[in-house]
Symmetry: C2
């Protein structure tokens, strides 16, 4: 994100005061140094398709995949902060569906550079002949599209994964279509299990419509876990955390995500009074899940969001958490969880200490790391994009390749 959240109060004061994703540094550099200190962790970098030209971005991805030995993922976002678009000289960001059209072409350029420019055996490092790379095996991608013209070669030597593992979190119909076309791992956030189940179903269907297997992408549900040795201790920890929730900070994020300025409402206002389709559909989902429950207020939304973002929070001992996780998987069909944190690294340390051993005892969690790249750790089918993934079709000789080395032929006739 290259802007600030500025829907709440119609300015960025609350975002800055609460440290709501500002200040924020370049995640690529952080991943590079964290990779140097770890062996098996994968790193998912969130980067927008509206902020950097795909030519230099492709080089950043290759560099990071080299430095991490193939442990990099890219969480593709199209951007949703109008302030970011304005900081790049635009009057506003592209309209929602257009952003995805633009992102589709962005991915096309990335695939051509990462998959289609350098053949596997191009780099020979032949000291005898003084040849570093066989130039005939490095191709000009010849991309001439609507948004980008990129005639040249990719600049980095191919890395282990070439294309990093692709994450996406599109939730709208066009967003799900985009995710189903490109993603290998999809994040979802749902107020209830029933909504999560619907999302999983919509994604599996979209994957099939995109010509892929319904399980070609892993689906991860956003979840916050508050755990400790016993249920009572975990509940006390949860109560302790709740006192630190910043209503202004929570409402800053919610206002940005939902597109409605919540500074105009009192904390005790019933959510039914808030003019926002996004909020009304969330409220409806909660009520469907719990028809006897009291009507939610803005304050309830703050407490829910203050700990867990837009996902669920579960609280309890390792055994209680494991029960709930297994139930969520059974009821929704998700492949796993995208764990949010209440405190860092404490929330993650707690999960490692109390929950992972219990899941391992139950035989539903791995006990050692799969070898190699992030893609191979997740799918166990090698380092590269699978043959039926769209990105593979841009490889040299593939049906979508546009390589065009004619600039060299012209040169030969000249020489």
């Amino acid at each position: 994100m290259l802007g600030t959240y500025d829907v709440f109060g119609a300015n960025d004061l609350a975002a800055i005061r609460n440290g709501a994703q500002v200040p924020v540094n370049d995640p690529v550099q952080l991943a590079a140094i964290m990779a140097a200190a770890t062996e098996n962790v994968g790193f998912g970098i969130t980067a927008g398709t509206a902020f950097e030209h795909p030519m230099p971005f492709a080089r950043r991805l290759s560099t990071l995949d080299h430095l991490t030995k193939g442990r990099v993922g890219w969480n593709i976002v199209t951007g949703y902060l109008p302030s970011a678009a304005r900081n790049l000289g635009q009057d506003d960001q592209l309209e929602h569906d257009q952003r995805y059209d633009h992102a589709d072409e962005y991915l096309e350029v990335i695939y051509k550079l990462l998959e289609g420019s350098w053949e596997d055996d191009a780099v020979v490092r032949d000291r005898e002949r003084g040849v570093f790379t066989e130039p005939e095996k490095v191709h000009h991608i010849g991309h001439h599209g609507t948004h980008f013209k990129v005639p040249g070669i990719h600049l980095s030597e191919p890395s282990l994964q070439r294309t990093p593992l692709l994450f996406q979190a599109g939730a709208s119909p066009r967003g799900i279509q985009f995710a189903a076309r490109h993603a290998e791992a999809i994040f979802i956030a749902s107020p209830t299990n029933a909504v999560a189940k619907q999302s999983v179903h919509a994604i599996r269907r979209a994957l099939v419509e995109a010509g892929r297997s319904p399980d070609a992408a892993k689906i991860y549900l956003l979840l916050t876990v508050i755990t400790d040795e016993t249920d009572a201790l975990a509940e006390a920890k949860h109560r302790d955390y709740l006192q630190y929730v910043s209503p202004e900070g929570a409402l800053t994020f919610l206002s940005g995500w939902m597109g409605v300025d919540l500074s105009k409402y009192e904390l005790d206002e019933p959510l039914g009074n808030v003019e926002s389709n996004a909020i009304q559909s969330t409220v409806a989902a909660f009520q469907a899940d719990n028809p006897e429950g009291r009507a939610w207020t803005v304050r309830d939304m703050v407490e829910w969001n203050g700990i867990a973002g837009l996902g669920a929070t579960i609280v309890g001992s390792g055994s209680t958490i494991a029960d709930q996780m297994q139930r969520i998987v059974a009821e929704t069909g998700v492949d796993g969880f995208n764990l949010a944190y209440a405190v860092t690294p404490g929330t993650f340390e707690d999960v490692v200490e109390f929950v992972v051993p219990e899941l391992q005892r139950r035989g539903v969690y791995h006990t050692e790391y799969a070898p190699g790249t992030l893609r191979n750790k997740l799918f166990g089918a090698g380092d590269r994009l699978p043959a039926n993934h769209r990105g593979s079709l841009y490889r040299v000789g593939g049906p979508l390749s546009t390589i065009d080395d004619s600039i060299r032929e012209a040169a030969f006739t000249f020489a």
Copy 2:
């Protein structure tokens, strides 16, 4: 550089074959991990003003300055490879002087973001009040220029140096003007001491014309040092290295730098026959320095360039090298050297082993590192840009500040 050298032979085959700056990775990430393993080394990142919007680039610089604890420098280049411009969707790069006008505005945006957006005491991390940053002390830069519109705030917390140490290597009249306005360290490359002396004089004069002290920027001369325990061993090492020079690789670089396709000439062709003003002025400089010498051929240019790029090579024991370095400094007025390498890390290890102790014995080289940031190590006057540097004038309250927080006032009346 986001393109390939393609003047030699009118294509990029030779560049790719010889590994002439291709493949090449993102230097920012490499600096981040090298910083994690070192304490005193400074890192100069070469990055062009034509390739990334200044808004995300400023965040990259802040991030790297945080990660290096203030040891980052930025070598500002405006770009000179037409192939790079084409890869970014342009028909060609901007004309030479226009590139510097564009770069001047790019620097203006960078100064506004790094120097003028966050006040020093903006970040308070106040747990009691729940305030991370005092938002009234973070300003919208309000930049509305010819090439860029950037209304918003900088995204990173200020780093130790804020603006990284600024390097530049402009050699044309407009390039020297640009360097004199912005740079704190200037690289020059000269075929002879007489030409270097002229360059130093032109730069000192340009610094004064830019309203700065004539020694406000350090001037570093490109130099390759081949050294060993004795002169004889160093000369043998030099002869050994020469056999590995790739004529095609050297000519690929020379053709790109000089703008002339040297594939059209035989290696034994006298340089006088080559149609290139840049080459003729270089040849004239050598002849002025050595009027008795034989006429140079393309092959001589290859051997000169193959080891030393466009600078000089000196060969000998530590004592011989120290003599020559001291003579160069006395004859040219440079502040130091930009050491190139014949092999890496061997060339640098040799300098550390054989030359540095000799220079220390003579009292002309430091024996311990100055503390703190790269800027403080070089100038000993603190971490930040000095008050009379152009970048300082963009600070809050400074004469060139354009901060405009009116978007917040509008919001207040609305609330």
